[in-house]
């Protein structure tokens, strides 16, 4: 009985160890190494055959040089800050767009709900890359959006949207919107209508009832949605490289360039380790929110 229990607990931990901790250990090790023109492009590499002396030799060559370098070149911290800002602002916009959609879905009749839910999930049936590329066709100078605006006469010159930060925001909000809608919808759907009637009965106007009952009860869903958008948006690479311009500074893009353009694996790994450390804080907060919500539901 105890063995089975131990096995049940051991399995997910083994999974976590193999798929998260081991790769993280490797990346951490590379970040402490030096760049080299070799395969793999860094030194030192562990030579197990050399035994104890080899191991000592190996550890003595590891240092924090790359992390120090990250603080010296202002490109990196500016990229981190810029990523945080873009992620935060996109999260806010996603919330502003997503909340009314989730609210509308939760108020819709039972017959309509599965259809609306389907419409939210439908974009996942197409590759994320294709969807981001298709935004190029919409946002470019000769794109659908500009053609439409010129046709309506709202503008006389085509707008430059593609390859700017605005395109990045549009891309992130578009891509991550379902992650905002679904948790908010889940919390609003559980909302008992009699709570709103009770609020009205006790003297609230409709609007007051919304602010005093609906919004606080959707809080857990809103927080969950915000984290689900914010966390991946910080490290986002595809959207800024496809839709953003040369001036768009995001850490995911920097990371990619360090790895593949500069082939500087150690510095790239250091960037990745720092990014992970930055993300640990919101991830812990997210877990706490989920736990508190579970406790409340008991």
């Amino acid at each position: 009985m105890n063995l089975r229990r131990a096995l049940l607990i051991a399995l997910p931990y083994a999974w976590l160890l193999a798929l998260f901790l081991v790769p993280f250990g490797i990346v951490l090790k590379i970040s402490l190494s030096d760049m080299a023109l070799a395969i793999p492009p860094y030194v030192p590499t562990l030579d197990i055959a050399a035994g104890w002396t080899g191991l000592k030799e190996f550890f003595s060559q590891l240092d924090f040089e790359n992390f120090v370098f990250l603080t010296e070149d202002d490109l990196y911290w500016r990229a981190y800050l810029s990523s945080l800002r873009i992620a935060a602002l996109s999260t806010l916009i996603t919330l502003i767009v997503g909340f009314p959609i989730a609210y509308g879905m939760s108020r819709a009749s039972d017959a309509w709900r599965p259809t609306l839910m389907m419409l939210v999930i439908l974009p996942f049936w197409t590759s994320f890359l294709i969807r981001v590329y298709s935004w190029m066709g919409i946002l470019s100078q000769q794109g659908l959006l500009n053609q439409f605006l010129l046709w309506t006469g709202l503008i006389s010159e085509p707008l430059t949207i593609l390859n700017t930060n605005i395109a990045v925001y549009i891309g992130i909000v578009y891509t991550y919107l379902p992650f905002m809608i679904l948790p908010i919808y889940a919390s609003l759907e559980k909302l008992d209508d009699s709570l709103l009637e009770a609020a009205e009965d006790l003297g609230c106007s409709r609007l007051q009832a919304f602010w005093l009952v609906t919004v606080p009860l959707a809080r857990a869903g809103v927080i969950a949605g915000c984290f689900l958008v914010f966390i991946p948006a910080i490290g986002e690479f595809v959207i800024p490289s496809v839709l953003g311009g040369s001036r768009t500074l995001m850490i995911g893009k920097v990371l990619w360039e360090e790895f593949f353009s500069n082939r500087d694996w150690p510095v790239a790994s250091a960037v990745a380790v720092v990014l992970l450390l930055i993300l640990v804080v919101p991830i812990i907060l997210f877990q706490r929110n989920e736990q508190r919500q579970r406790e409340q539901e008991q």
Binding site: E197, A199, E200, D201, L202, S205
Partner: protein, 384 residues
């Protein structure tokens, strides 16, 4: 006890006093949802300080009636007056009417205290007044130690009391209770019923309660309205409804009843001869109703506890029939005997278990005599 007001020795019965102005008047109220008629041209007066019960099976319109009082539904036709004024244009948040919801509808994100204060904060009261009122309410429902708990941290019975305190906090002219004890177990429900009556008396608020539990309605209410298919079938005091049901529907709905279908013939002096089976001695029944035909189809309804069981035919009994004990339902304080007549009909007779069960006089398959007095049965016109 709920019918007698402490300050005056007279019986509380404002509905019998033509001088009294009702607190609520339904005048020809009809409510339709599409093709479905939930309430059909209903007239009803409810008086101040009454504990009024709306009783009926689900779908009979009782909840719709209550929701119209709260303001969540508007009548399709007719008028509802509160204190003599039409309430149709008053939105629910401005009505001096509060409601206790069947699900309690406590705000899960607020503490017990904050839940009770919720309505008070929408009024013009100062912070100090609100705090005092909340304390008063917590005392009334004996929840002071739980003031800072969230609804999910207290028991079902406590939640029910929070809901009651919250709906009473604004001192409404009228309190609506939608199946207030539906979620409680039987024992707790009985305790709560007396508590509710006590609180109603203390606060002097008019209560309208919706329930499908006839025992509950009988216990708490000063008057009971029995509803069916959007109509009021009978409005009367609990004993009036039980002892003098105006129809077979009410007689059957409230408590247990045996129904004989037969033919009545007037003997004069309010006495009737009731023939119910070929070759059987007719029953004699007394009725003061004026709608009993001089000779025509009638039904006789008799409560099980009004039927006596004896081994021999009792001397001088006007109404007596013989049968065989088919079943005995032992309920603790009473036993219900199911006695089958030779014609096949099964009659229920209830007797108090005032001696130990091992010493009971009758057993399965025993031949017994059932008898009842001429005033025990209720004679009703028609066969329902």
């Amino acid at each position: 006890m709920n019918m007698v007001q402490q300050e005056s020795p007279t019986v509380f019965a404002p509905w019998e006093d033509p001088e009294q102005k009702p607190l609520i008047r339904f005048i020809d109220v009809t409510k339709r949802f599409g093709d479905f008629t939930a309430i059909e041209s209903l007239n009803l007066d409810i008086y101040e300080r009454e504990f009024f019960a709306l009783l009926g099976p689900s779908g009979c319109g009782k909840t719709t009636l209550m929701r119209m009082l709260a303001g969540f539904e508007a009548p399709t036709e007719g008028t509802i007056l509160l204190d003599g004024a039409d309430i149709a244009p008053v939105p629910p948040n401005r009505r001096a009417v509060n409601m206790m919801f069947q699900s309690y509808a406590l705000f899960p994100h607020l503490t017990v205290e904050q839940n009770i204060a919720f309505g008070l904060k929408r009024s013009k009261m100062t912070k100090g007044e609100i705090a005092d009122r909340v304390q008063e309410m917590l005392r009334l429902v004996r929840l002071e130690p739980f003031a800072r708990r969230k609804p999910h941290q207290i028991s079902g019975g406590q939640r029910q009391r929070v809901a009651l305190a919250r709906s009473l906090a604004k001192a409404p002219r009228l309190l609506l209770l939608d199946e207030p004890m539906g979620a409680l177990d039987k024992k707790l429900r009985q305790e709560t019923q007396f508590e509710l009556m006590d609180i109603q008396e203390k606060t002097g608020t008019t209560f309208v309660i919706v329930t499908h539990d006839q025992e509950e309605a009988m216990t708490v209410a000063s008057r009971v309205a029995v509803m069916d298919h959007g109509r009021l079938i009978q409005v009367a005091t609990p004993d009036g409804i039980y002892e003098n049901p105006n129809s077979l529907y009410v007689a059957d709905f409230i408590g247990e009843v045996n129904i004989f279908r037969g033919h009545a013939r007037a003997l004069g002096d309010n006495r009737y001869e009731f023939t119910w089976a070929e070759g059987k001695a007719p029953f004699t029944a007394v009725s003061e109703r004026d709608d009993i035909p001089a000779s025509g189809p009638c039904s006789l309804a008799i409560r099980p506890e009004k039927i006596a069981i004896t081994a021999e035919r009792p001397e001088g009994a006007l109404n007596a029939i013989e049968g065989t004990v088919l079943d005995i339902a032992y309920l603790g304080s009473t036993s219900t005997y199911h006695v089958q007549l030779p014609e096949g009909q099964v009659i229920k007779a209830q007797i108090a278990n005032n001696r130990r069960i091992s010493r009971r006089s009758f057993n399965w398959d025993d031949r017994v005599w059932l008898s009842f007095t001429e005033t025990a049965g209720i004679l009703l016109p028609g066969h329902g």
